[in-house]
């Protein structure tokens, strides 16, 4: 932070709300729609107060019709608006999968470049709150499989605040995944924080011994692990991918070329995951830099259980990261 700029303390939730509010003021075409975004104030209280501020035409409560209101968002985007569609959780987005995959992702291509979809879809994702197997999916990586959409995963307050506007300015559909465990996270931000890019990964902690590649809420587990590892003389570099499609592979390939080791921490399931994609790209393009096999720390391949101890055992944890990294950096460093 530069000196002189006032710093504000706020939660991730407030950062998202501020971002929506700013977008609503900056561009009259922007509106928010989704289940319970208005009178209820948002399932995760993100949009609390916005109905009073902007009125029901621009803060639109929808029926429980994911396919209709996501599709309506696509249509409205083609019709000249800049909709922000909120889907309560990624699980419910599956009810709108037809619209996201068959329409939003394909329209530009099918129409030979005539109809782009400047749409933003926000949704909560991730486990860790004991809401069991139908509310805890982490499917960002799965959406990242699909060409035609962009998939961004803000982890920090700065990104929660700054990615939305950039996404709205993008001519193509952008899916923003907000991990539900982050909403209460507090942090500091410049009062005049600016929009940030949605194209590049960031090195959140430079290090020399190993590259820990992660995104979203797992970033903080990785940073916690890196702090513990530093005490043992292991200097881990932590990379926050920020955007899963398009995937900024240059940043993590550069890192691996420096550290010669990589572990990927991904809250999604292991098989066919974004972690698998990253691992494959490292193998394809940095094979001769590797001093040991790439490893992955993902969620256990089980529908997430309700019981706390089982749920926590299923999710990637800092201790697992520490143990894995120590095993990988066993002989030197």
């Amino acid at each position: 932070m530069s000196g002189g700029t006032p710093i504000v303390k706020l939660t991730y939730r407030e950062a998202v709300r501020d971002a929506i509010r700013e977008a609503m003021y900056k561009d009259a075409r922007v509106f928010l729609m989704g289940e319970d975004v208005g009178r209820y104030g948002g399932c995760f209280a993100v949009s609390k107060g916005l109905l009073q501020e902007f009125g029901p035409a621009r803060i639109r409560d929808t029926p429980l019709s994911e396919s209709a209101f996501v599709g309506a968002g696509i249509g409205a985007a083609m019709g000249g608006m800049r909709p922000i569609v909120e889907i309560m959780t990624v699980n419910f987005s599956l009810l709108a999968a037809d619209q996201i995959l068959n329409n939003a992702a394909t329209m530009l291509h099918m129409s030979g470049g005539q109809f782009n979809i400047p749409l933003v879809i926000r949704m909560a994702t991730g486990g860790g709150r004991q809401v069991a197997a139908q509310h805890s999916h982490c499917l960002e990586g799965w959406y990242a499989h699909i060409p035609g959409i962009k998939v961004v995963t803000p982890a920090t307050i700065e990104d929660a605040r700054g990615m939305l506007w950039t996404a709205l300015e993008d001519p193509d559909p952008v899916l923003i995944f907000e991990n539900n465990t982050l909403y209460n996270m507090e942090g500091e931000l410049a009062a005049d924080a600016q929009p940030v890019d949605i194209n590049y990964a960031r090195v959140r902690r430079p290090g020399r011994d190993i590259s820990i590649i992660t995104y979203s809420a797992s970033l903080f587990k990785a940073l916690e692990a890196a702090a513990v590892l530093a005490g043992d003389g292991i200097d881990a570099e932590v990379i926050d991918l920020r955007t899963l499609r398009p995937l900024d592979d240059k940043t993590f390939l550069t890192s691996v070329a420096k550290t010669h080791r990589a572990v990927i921490v991904d809250e999604g399931w292991r098989s066919g995951s974004i972690a698998a994609e990253i691992s494959a790209r490292i193998m394809e393009r940095a094979f001769y830099e590797l001093d040991c096999p790439v490893e992955r720390i993902c969620s256990a391949e089980v529908p997430l259980p309700y019981a706390k101890h089982l749920e926590q055992a299923a999710l990637p944890q800092a201790e697992t990261i520490v143990a894995t990294v120590k095993r990988m950096v066993h002989s030197h460093g």
Binding site: G233, D235, K258, C292, H330, S331, H332
Partner: protein, 428 residues
């Protein structure tokens, strides 16, 4: 004469069986009439005709299965005479569409591919070496046969560090045997050795060189035996430093110009102020940090070998003073006229192999010192900063350090610090 062909009724249809003709030769037909039924995988489909005319000849009989595009019948226009059968070439029965009619099906009997001759399997008693890709690449570069390397990784896998150890050991062995090590060891060796072939026909290797090699051999062998090295490296953007140097040198006469080397030496001294554990000796099983920073500056000799005189109190000298020291020191090194303090006082070693085009230097520590800083050549490389890619002059700095004395974390801090100082050249 028009042709009525087996139509393609779907992308996956390759052939159809003619079930029934709804017409016979001589029948008058109009566009849109159903004139045949064809059986496909999906069932029986009525096939319409797209011509007006009279059925001339039926070429395919019911129950025949033919590929898409095959001529089924010919249609002549009203008023035209029937074509004599004899005129019709048999070949015309084959599909002659503008595009290839169908993919040849596998059952149709494509060329048989003989089973490949198997290479006799390699001896299975010989266990396959487990070598990390990086270690294998490094071994190639250093000329190390990986089968001679002892792996310390999981299940005996050979990793980078193992190759580096092997390379250091090999270097030590290659030197002539040293019956009596010189009591005052002069110089550590740094890979790769600048072995220069004699230019003119020289009678014999001068005595001082023989002694020097023996001293190097003794020190390096001891280093490799005793010191558990760890290596760290970092890439440093030198654009600020070089820009500053350029501006500075423009103001100076040739005699007073600065070389990048003095910036590096000074930055090392400053960084050692931040991480003092790297400046000292490992004696009596403990680290003995030294307050004074005397940097051993490796100077290679064209005849082979190198000498590492100490530059005293680098932290207290200005860049100009350091330049002066080098002007004094280097000719004396080349002439073999060094003071004893210059040969024994160094608390750390800096080796700058950038002049040779080497990019990265993995040094061997000169005991009882606990660290060696290596600098490669400054090369232009792609460099990402603030989300932008640019071309920058990049210097790779390495630290070889004694793991008994420090760990990677402190080493990392040192390189970080070094980088920081090089970003503010005016303050050096």
């Amino acid at each position: 004469m028009a042709e009525f062909r087996m139509p393609s009724l779907g992308a996956d249809m390759e052939a159809g069986t003619l079930i029934e003709w709804k017409v016979k030769p001589g029948d008058r037909i109009t566009r849109g009439d159903i004139i045949a039924e064809v059986e496909t995988d999906k069932g029986i489909i009525e096939v319409e005709v797209f011509e007006d005319g009279i059925v001339d000849q039926i070429l395919v009989q019911p129950d025949a299965k033919v590929p898409v595009g095959t001529v089924l019948a010919t249609i002549r226009s009203v008023g035209a005479a029937p074509m004599p059968t004899a005129d019709r070439a048999v070949a015309e029965r084959m599909p002659v569409g503008a595009e290839p009619p169908v993919q040849p099906s596998l059952e149709a009997g494509g060329p048989r591919i003989p089973a490949p001759t198997m290479v006799p399997p390699a001896s299975t008693t010989e266990r396959r070496l487990r070598v990390s890709p990086l270690a294998r690449k490094l071994a190639d570069e250093l000329g190390i046969d990986v089968s001679t390397v002892q792996g310390t990784g999981p299940d005996g896998a050979i990793e980078r560090a193992d190759v580096e150890r092997a390379a250091a050991a090999k270097k030590a062995e290659e030197r002539p045997p040293a019956p009596t090590p010189t009591p005052s060891p002069t110089t550590p060796e740094v890979a790769p050795t600048p072995e220069v072939p004699p230019r003119a026909a020289k009678a014999a290797v001068p005595e001082f060189q023989v002694r020097m090699r023996r001293a190097i051999a003794a020190a390096m062998a001891r280093s490799n035996r005793e010191i558990p090295h760890y290596y760290l490296e970092t890439r440093i953007d030198m654009s600020r430093a070089l820009r500053w140097l350029e501006t500075e040198n423009q103001k100076r006469t040739i005699k007073d110009r600065l070389l990048p080397a003095v910036l590096l030496v000074k930055a090392v001294a400053k960084a050692l102020g931040d991480v003092p554990e790297l400046n000292g000796y490992w004696i009596d099983d403990r680290l003995q940090p030294q307050e004074a920073i005397h940097i051993g500056f490796a100077i290679s000799l064209r005849q082979g070998g190198l000498v590492i005189p100490a530059i005293h109190h680098v932290d207290l000298k200005s860049l100009d003073e350091l330049m002066e020291v080098l002007h004094d020191l280097i000719p004396r090194v080349r002439a073999g006229r060094l003071r004893s303090s210059e040969l024994t006082d160094a608390t750390i070693t800096v080796t700058n192999l950038g002049d040779l085009g080497v990019e990265v230097v993995y040094g061997v520590i000169y005991p009882p010192q606990v660290a060696l800083v290596g600098f490669g050549k400054i090369v232009e490389q792609p460099w990402a900063e603030h989300g932008m890619l640019g071309i920058r002059p990049i210097l790779t700095a390495t630290l070889a350090a004694d793991h008994r004395a420090t760990d990677g974390h402190r080493g990392g801090q040192f390189l970080d610090s070094l980088n920081r100082y090089l970003q503010e050249p005016a303050k050096l």
